[in-house]
């Protein structure tokens, strides 16, 4: 069951992490111009 929980969370966390990283990079333009 633990492996299934980790796999499930990974499946949703990976695209979310992709989006957050991309957005943070974009947001950094606010401070760098």
């Amino acid at each position: 069951m633990r492996a299934r929980i980790i796999a499930s969370w990974t499946l949703v966390a990976v695209p979310l992490a992709y989006g957050v990283v991309e957005t943070v990079v974009r947001a950094s333009q606010l401070f760098t111009g």
């Binding site: 499930s8 979310l16 989006g19 957005t23 974009r26």
Partner: protein, 473 residues
């Protein structure tokens, strides 16, 4: 009515099932349908494709939000009766079909297909998908309902965070001339938009199917290990009695909460709607702004992160401090922050960004906390259906918010060429809107016993209409 493998009684969790599998199932759905807030990347491309005004394309997205409210209201009781798997399956079919129809519309140049696909069919999928996991999560997490619904509804904010960059990359992959960094001026060709909708449809079909197959409902007698239901009864705004969806709309509490959500969302949209031109206008010196267009886009990205994070952080906090106090924070402190934004926001970029970011976190928090507030007031019996009815406040705010902001700004000129003073009337109006919401929240009392379903009263001294409240937790 639904195929047997989707039926509620087929997805009752067996012993050994972990409730921590349910939030990722809910997130999988919300991360997909949250795409509706990431439309600015291809909006200009659609305007060029169909040779229409920005407002025409903007109307398609507004239509999707209106359909969200209408479908969640219409199908809320069906969702509660048939369970989350059936609801997620139907949501997947509608949302993905809508994207495919939109893709066909772009490919063939038929604007009506875009209206039908994205505005109507996707919109129905949005509404059913949004409410599909709420009641189930509340039943799995009676000890932390704010945390549970916060995790799911954070996914809706996260959906835009994922879809924005993904759409930009897809469009530039299929059309090398498209520059995602200049999405408001650069436009992709029809083939690229068509393929983007197709790829998104396939990606979302896979992720939403995972959620559909993973979700389970708890057995009727299930409760978390070590959790004592009598702790719930100890809080005066929290009931263990049940109120049906049809009865809930006859209570003043439902309509007060409707006003609370409407005001919170309307005020948030005030910033969301004009974020990029707004920050440039606030720091304009002569004809030029000290904030570049790229920095404005960065500001929009930062707000989306705070919007998403606020959903989880504030909703989880409400489990500790109580639902009514957290809305006093959203609306009361939000009101002060809006006032500061209007009066001194132009004195410092850092101050402006900080104020707007916290306001957006309250906006997200308001969405995520409301299911737990409904659980507190009306019980778990038909909380999904009640939530569906309440979401009409979102649809109404989706019309009222832009109407207020654009109404004031249109009288001043074109956003992107204005100064901070031009925004004051709109921002001060939002202060008034938040004040109305704050008062509505203050007026919320426990639901009177006469509205409870027979035999579900929790035995404590339930407040009757007009009786003063003993605690705010």
């Amino acid at each position: 009515m639904v195929p047997s493998f989707l039926a509620r009684d087929r997805i009752v969790a067996t012993p050994g099932f972990s409730r921590w599998l349910v939030p990722p199932a809910a997130l999988a759905v919300h991360l997909c349908i949250g795409q509706v807030y990431a439309t600015s990347v291809y909006k200009t491309s659609l305007v060029e494709r169909f040779d229409v005004e920005q407002t025409t394309i903007g109307f398609i997205f507004s239509l999707a939000i209106v359909m969200l409210g209408l479908s969640s209201m219409t199908f809320g009781t069906w969702v509660d009766r048939n369970g989350p798997r059936a609801a997620m399956a139907v949501s997947t079919v509608f949302f993905v079909s809508g994207l495919l129809i939109a893709s066909l519309g772009v490919s063939t140049g038929q604007l009506w297909l875009l209206f039908l696909g994205y505005g109507v069919v996707c919109g129905i999928g949005l509404g059913i998908g949004y409410i599909s996991p709420v009641s189930t999560l509340i039943k799995w997490f009676p000890d932390r309902p704010g945390l549970a619904t916060g995790m799911a509804i954070m996914g809706f904010g996260g959906g835009a965070v994922i879809a924005g960059p993904l759409e930009g990359r897809l469009l530039s992959f299929f059309d090398s001339d498209f520059d995602p960094a200049k999405a408001t001026t650069s436009s992709a060709d029809a083939h690229a938009i068509t393929m983007m909708f197709l790829v998104l449809g396939v990606f979302y079909a896979v992720l939403m199917t995972f959620g559909t197959l993973t979700v389970r409902v708890p057995p009727d007698d299930w409760k978390p290990e070590g959790w004592n239901p009598s702790e719930v009864r100890a809080k005066s705004l929290v009931t263990t009695a049940s109120v049906s969806a049809s009865t809930s709309v006859r209570t003043p509490q439902f309509w007060l909460l409707w006003v609370v959500l409407f005001c919170n969302v309307t005020a948030g949209i005030g910033i969301v709607e004009q974020a990029s031109p707004m920050i440039q206008d606030f720091f304009r010196e002569g004809d030029a702004s000290t904030v570049t267009a790229a920095a404005g886009a960065g500001f929009v990205g930062l707000l989306s992160i705070f919007n998403m994070a606020g959903r989880f952080v504030w909703s989880s906090t409400s489990d500790v401090v109580g639902r009514k106090p957290i809305y006093m924070l959203y609306l009361g402190v939000g009101l002060v922050l809006y006032l500061l934004l209007a009066l001194v926001g132009s004195t410092s970029t850092v101050l402006f960004v900080l104020l707007a970011a916290v306001i957006l976190s309250f906006y997200g928090g308001g969405f995520a906390t409301v299911p737990a507030y409904l659980r507190d007031l009306f019980g778990t019996y038909q909380v999904g259906a009640i939530h569906g009815r309440l979401l009409t406040a979102w649809s109404a705010a989706g019309v009222a918010g832009p109407f207020i902001v654009n109404g004031f700004l249109d009288a001043q000129g074109e956003p992107g060429t204005l100064t901070a003073d031009a925004y004051q009337p709109a921002l001060l109006t939002m202060v008034g809107v938040l004040a109305v919401g704050f008062v509505a929240n203050l007026l919320i009392r426990p639901v009177a016993e006469k509205y409870h379903e027979p035999g579900t009263d929790d035995g404590r001294a339930t407040a009757r209409a007009g009786e003063p409240e003993r605690s705010t937790r």
